[in-house]
């Protein structure tokens, strides 16, 4: 199965062409192990002429992405849940109910919700880095289990062993929640490998930040995904800052779609402030992935809060932040719902109140959940229950 690519790449034919990669021609003679091309026969020039699609904000209606009005409302609620959950989490951090790291996703919710709308939850898989609350909640994790995890309680999703950075939900196909920048992307490719191996029709979507693009793991994972034709989507959530380092200070090529060219992979640029643009991009590329065509999406987004709770944010101006807040994905969707007569402001406000209450209830739930018994420290290290070895 993984050999299919090799066979094709060793044939004396031009690199694969897709609808979006027109005219990749003379510079394309790859792999000639058993081919008839002489690798020392150089072309007259190298010409790269590739077109990738752009999924712009405002370009798609809910009908364009095939969702009904009820679904639009549940998407709105889904985004609100992430927003209100994290606002409350930040407050609880201030009250020292939550410790350690807390990386907020606020501003990026259209990406998680658009993805959850586009994929088949349960069949498909999602993996991300440590800014993981949004993806977990979007896929169906409850506010209760998420808040209890932040509080370090036994009813938390990881029984209080993971905290903010390590949400996992096997039943939702959510593979975490990972702390080392970029290191989970090869794992995401492995999840895709297993989908293909088992022929279960699943797609694996690996989210990572712009900062992760600097990691070698991304390079290796991208190459393997394309080499083995895996049902994978690699998604750069480009929020424009790796902690305090702006992308232009970290990357020679800040158009991340261009990076896909080196892996013979298709790519697209997506406006991450519009949930329908994200949904459409994910639908299209999940379809490609199911056909064995992995892709790389750059989703432009913005993180309203600091990198973590201790970030003074001196690397950006107040004006920049305010300008971006005018593009808020939740406000945008609210306006869309009202403008299109799907619902009214009162009903949306009522929904907001309901979500706020759900989050408040999760704080009560977390507060009332017991701390883990000390004996649980030795559980979940190995499959066997005879741990610790060093008694």
């Amino acid at each position: 199965m993984p050999m299919a690519k090799q066979a094709r790449k060793t044939a004396a034919s031009p690199r694969k062409t897709t609808a979006s990669k027109a005219g990749a021609g003379s510079g394309s003679s790859t792999g000639t192990k058993n081919g008839t091309e002489n690798p020392n026969d150089l072309p007259a020039e190298i010409k790269i002429d590739i077109t990738f699609p752009v999924y712009a904000a405002g370009a798609y209606s809910h009908k364009d992405v095939g969702v009904d009005e009820d679904t639009v409302m549940s998407m709105y609620r889904n985004m609100l849940l992430q927003r209100r959950f994290e606002e409350r989490a930040a407050q609880m951090y201030g009250k020292q109910k939550i410790a350690g790291f807390l990386h907020l996703y606020i501003g990026q919710e259209a990406i998680s919700t658009g993805t959850a709308t586009a994929i088949n939850i349960g069949q498909d898989s999602v993996i991300t880095a440590y800014r993981d609350h949004g993806h977990g909640l979007a896929l169906g994790m409850t506010a209760n289990e998420c808040m209890a995890e932040l509080f370090g309680r036994i009813d938390g999703s990881s029984r209080g062993k993971g905290g903010s950075m390590h949400y996992f939900s096997k039943k939702h196909g959510f593979f975490g929640g990972h702390g080392i920048v970029g290191a989970h992307v090869p794992v995401g490719i492995g999840i895709a490998f297993a989908h293909k191996y088992k022929e279960d029709g699943g797609v694996s979507i690996s989210f990572f930040g712009d900062g992760a693009v600097g990691q070698g793991a991304i390079h290796e994972a991208s190459n393997l995904a394309s080499l083995y034709d895996l049902p994978a989507i690699l998604v750069v959530e480009n929020n424009q800052y790796a902690m305090g380092t702006a992308i232009h200070r970290a990357f020679a090529e800040t158009q991340f779609t261009h990076h896909a060219v080196g892996y013979d992979m298709t790519a697209a640029l997506v406006d991450g402030m519009d949930v329908f643009a994200v949904t459409k991009a994910m639908q299209d590329h999940a379809k490609l992935a199911r056909e064995g065509k992995p892709s790389m999406l750059e989703i432009r987004t913005y993180r309203y809060r600091g990198h973590s709770m201790s970030d003074p944010q001196k690397y950006r101006t107040k004006e920049e932040l305010e300008a971006k807040q005018n593009e808020d994905p939740i406000i945008r969707l609210k306006k869309y719902i009202i403008d299109n007569g799907i619902s009214g402001a009162d009903a949306l406000d009522a929904m907001d109140d309901e979500v706020k209450q759900e989050v408040l209830d999760s704080v009560d739930f977390a507060d009332n959940s017991p701390v883990p018994d000390l004996s649980t420290i030795y559980e979940d290290v190995y499959e066997e229950d005879d741990y610790p070895y060093l008694a």
């Binding site: 990881s158 593979f175 990972h178 090869p186 490719i189 492995g190 088992k198 066997e384 060093l390």
Partner: protein, 327 residues
């Protein structure tokens, strides 16, 4: 029983397990079309096809992570490192992901994966190709570390490692791949992980030695026998979990212990074993525990220097005499 080379015993273990469980696949550099850099996987591509025997680019981090993700999603990968020296490029995957995902996920995801390949020194390969990695991996909770010394154990232990639900680091040796030995062909021949093997019984001194060092221990035991001393030789087989009970039982009989370990000495397997012995059997010891290890330097190239770097049979012999106060 059949006489097999060490490499053939490992291959037999993989082939038998792959025949009984189609979730198992082998991935690594040169494992398929080249038939394995050390011919361990020879013929496996032909038998199992390219879906299950998979060549990779030189991307240890990438294909180790791929294995981990595949294990999380229901498969049972065997990841081959051409040598464990190259595992350092993937050490983040092994330590941060393979070992910790079960814990971080509160037990939701398991990672049944075997990382296997040759470990330790193999001659004049200089510093970067001669590292003994067992003490590095054995320090990590969540991993198991297995280090067989002979073909029969290699087969039984590898089958157990492949069936294990946890990530296992399985350490072989370039210089032992050609070693021949009788290997069980019993159906379902599996040796349990975490159980040491008392290879020879003796009353006078306990020698603990794994992997290649085991063969030094046997030679030393032979020499001591000629002089009328009985050495009890214990092969731990598994480094983590370590079967300290078997070692302690032996020391309660011999009251003396020598450890042969080709790791660099600081914070090594020998350090840990010695600590655990004094914790459990201090009152039974009649002499300080002695250890023979690699020298505390990067591995050198020159023939005389690399020979001197490795644990020496004469040193181990003299250490045994010393702890018996027979020198």
């Amino acid at each position: 029983m059949a006489e097999l080379q060490f490499r053939e015993a490992i291959r037999a273990a993989m082939v038998e397990e792959m025949e009984r469980d189609d979730r198992i696949f082998l991935i690594g550099e040169e494992v398929a079309e080249y038939n394995g850099a050390y011919k361990v996987s020879e013929g496996m591509l032909e038998q199992f096809g390219a879906k299950r025997i998979i060549d990779t680019p030189i991307s240890e981090n990438g294909f180790s992570g791929l294995g981990i993700g595949a294990a999380m999603n229901g498969l049972r990968p065997i990841v081959e490192f051409m040598t464990f020296n190259f595992s350092f490029v993937a050490i983040d995957q092994i330590i941060n992901n393979a070992a910790k995902i079960r814990y971080m996920s509160g037990g939701q995801f398991k990672v049944p994966i075997v990382f296997r390949g040759p470990n330790g020194a193999a001659g004049q390969l200089a510093a970067t190709h001669n590292t003994s990695t067992e003490s590095i991996y054995a320090t990590i909770p969540g991993l198991k570390v297995v280090c067989p010394s002979n073909p029969n154990d290699a087969k039984g232990l590898l089958k157990a490692s492949i069936r294990d639900e946890n990530p296992v680091v399985f350490l072989e040796s370039e210089v032992m791949y050609g070693l021949k030995g009788e290997v069980s062909d019993e159906e379902d021949y599996v040796l349990p992980l975490g159980k040491a093997h008392v290879v020879r019984e003796g009353e006078d001194v306990t020698i603990v030695a794994h992997g290649k060092s085991y063969w030094i221990a046997l030679k030393v035991a032979d020499r001591l026998k000629e002089e009328g001393y009985g050495a009890e030789v214990i092969d731990p087989r598994t480094i983590r979990p370590f079967d300290i009970e078997t070692v302690v039982e032996s020391i309660k009989k011999t009251n003396r212990c020598v450890i042969i370990d080709e790791s660099n000495p600081f914070a090594s397997i020998s350090s840990e074993i010695a600590f655990q012995i004094q914790e459990r059997a201090f009152d039974w010891l009649d002499a300080p525990i002695a250890r023979i290890t690699a020298k505390d330097v990067p591995a050198p190239y020159a023939k005389n220097l690399i020979d001197y770097y490795m644990p020496q049979e004469d040193d181990a012999y003299e250490a045994c005499k010393r702890v018996m106060y027979a020198d």
